[in-house]
Amino acid sequence: MSTTTLRDPTAETSPTRRARLVPPPSLDGKVVALMDIGKSRGKEFLDRLEGHFKKAGVATRRYAKPTNTKVAPVELMQKIAAEAQLAVIALSD
């Protein structure tokens, strides 16, 4: 396989690298998803974070991938997108 090169159909006023979403100026009224991808000690990390968010008065919801060996199921991604505005993913050991 080889890469495909396309030509930009736009006026080229923005960088070719897509910009990241801008973080919200405040967490007021937001729900933060805490997602455990299934690696060891992920739960421990998210418990700690959850405590910090709770102290700061920020709502959280917990999610978990069925297995760390596969990408998250579409249903889970849609659930997070519907219920939360931000997400923290515990992805390391």
Partner: protein, 487 residues
């Protein structure tokens, strides 16, 4: 021609033949190639079968056509002679005299006919040349390159970059863009205009890129360019049309021989799906506005509801009846010329009348339908298109009414007493100021701008279509439908 010193496959002093097995002339001259191979340094580039020709010392598989492309071969067989590392002569097809002059008696081909034409090189087959330019040459395109990851789907990449109207687009690769540019004589770098809302300069090349994405064929390019130019006429007020909370968007109507040439639909389901030219020309305009101009729904496009025609809304007029004056001619374009008319229009509303049998009945009936545009009690809130179906048109034709008569009668039929329209009349708050109660009120601007009458549709059905306009049209000196000849 390239310098042979640049290529290890080319002899410094000797000959090159480009051939393919599927060419009868190449098959015929196999003995000549074998004879020449015995006498001189010979390299044969074979385009379709690496085992052809047989019995030679140096046959190079040119399946990828890279050599054929760089050698500029248009016909096979082509015989090229090199001396001192440079090309000093070439001939193509089989012509004994020319071959002997170039390569000597070894190329005489005893027993063969004196002359036989060659075949087209695979490198110049339709669609191939552009791929070869993209792979091995300089496409000369100025738009910046966007590389898609090896395992990524280019169509999904277009979605992710926001280049799509919501439907899949054709990924704009160099070969496709070059093919699209082949549909026009205009230079890729020519500026067609400034596309709102960002007033970004739009080159012919950018039009071609978006036309590729829309799914256009190269032969649509002159029409697409004409549509874009018409849309940029200040009288079309494209920026305002983009910003509006109203339903409307550009409605594209094409007249002239080009509609038949590129297979546009003016007949059955003319306003519907299924015809590539109709669908993609209208879509190309919308993609150009989106991508080049930055006119994004939810950003500058503030439509409350929009309408499905904002994906694409383009059709051709049925010009098959010489008694009917086509829309473009009515609007000043000479007969036989190609033209585009752009209208700021909303969706299609069906009009049914299966009882009228005379022009007088039908025109009154149509006027009732047209009064529904925007609101039955509002006037001057936008003009309209009336798409007259064949069966409805036949009633006017049989009654001896031509376009001009129909326009005049429709204009008269579209007057109503102000008392029926004022605020609160008939228990409906919407309407016009009370001071108009004692006047006769026109629904639309004067003809022919008030109602653009155009013929289209399938042969069966006493239906016509009404396409409402845009309130911006109320100031006719500032905002109107635009008709332009297609260059």
């Amino acid at each position: 021609m390239p310098d042979s010193l640049l290529s290890p496959d080319l002899p410094r002093d000797g000959f090159v033949i480009v051939a393919k097995r599927e060419c009868h002339t190449c098959e015929l001259i196999q003995p000549v190639m074998q004879s020449l191979d015995r006498e001189a340094a010979l390299t044969v580039f074979t385009q379709d079968d690496p085992t052809f020709p047989s019995g030679l010392r140096h046959v190079v598989d040119d399946h990828a056509l890279e050599r054929s492309f760089h050698l500029g071969v248009e016909t096979v067989p082509t015989l090229i002679r090199y001396a001192g590392g440079r090309e000093v002569g070439r001939t193509f097809g089989w012509d004994r005299a020319a071959w002997v002059e170039l390569a000597g008696p070894a190329a005489a081909g005893e027993g063969l006919p004196a002359w036989q034409p060659g075949c087209g090189s695979r490198s110049v087959e339709p669609g191939v040349q552009e791929i070869l330019i993209a792979r091995y040459g300089d496409p000369g395109l100025k738009a910046r390159e966007i590389t898609v990851g090896e395992w990524d789907d280019p169509i999904e990449a277009c979605f992710e970059r926001g280049w799509s109207d919501g439907l899949p687009v054709v990924p704009p690769t160099d070969d496709r863009i070059l093919r699209m540019l082949g549909g026009t004589d205009r230079k890729p770098g020519e500026i067609v205009g400034l596309i709102p809302p960002n007033l970004a300069p739009c080159t012919v090349e950018k039009v071609a890129i978006n036309a590729v994405m829309a799914g256009c064929k190269p032969e649509y390019m002159p029409v697409v360019l004409g549509v874009v130019e018409a849309a940029l006429d200040p009288l079309f007020v494209l920026h305002g049309l983009l910003c509006t909370t109203h339903f409307s968007g550009p409605v594209v109507m094409i007249n002239g021989p080009v509609t038949r040439a590129i297979g546009m639909n003016s007949g059955v389901n003319a306003l519907g799906q299924g015809n590539r030219a109709n669908a993609t020309i209208g879509r190309a305009l919308q993609l150009i506005v989106r991508n080049v101009g930055g006119g994004l729904p939810g950003a500058i496009d503030r439509a409350t509801l929009g309408n499905p025609g904002k994906y694409t809304f383009c059709f051709a007029e049925d010009e098959s009846d010489p008694d009917w004056e086509p829309l473009a001619q009515r609007r000043g374009i000479a007969a036989g010329k190609n033209a585009v008319t752009l209208f700021q229009g909303e969706g299609v509303r069906g009009f049914i009348d299966q009882k009228s049998r005379t022009p007088e009945e039908l025109v009154r009936s149509l006027a009732m339908g047209l009064w529904g545009v925007s609101h039955p009690k509002l006037v001057d809130a936008g003009n309209a298109i009336l798409v007259l179906s064949p069966e409805h048109y036949q009633i006017f034709k049989d009654g001896g009414w031509n376009r001009r008569r129909l326009e005049d009668e429709l204009h008269q039929a579209l007057k109503r007493p102000g008392r029926d329209l004022i605020y609160g009349a008939h228990g409906v708050a919407e309407g016009i100021p009370a001071k108009f109660a004692d006047r006769m009120i026109d629904k639309f601007q004067p003809m022919p701008d008030g109602v653009l009458i155009v013929r289209a549709g399938g042969p069966a059905g006493l239906f016509s279509a009404i396409i409402g306009g845009w309130p911006g049209q109320r100031v006719s000196t500032e905002c109107q439908a635009v008709t332009r000849e297609i260059r």
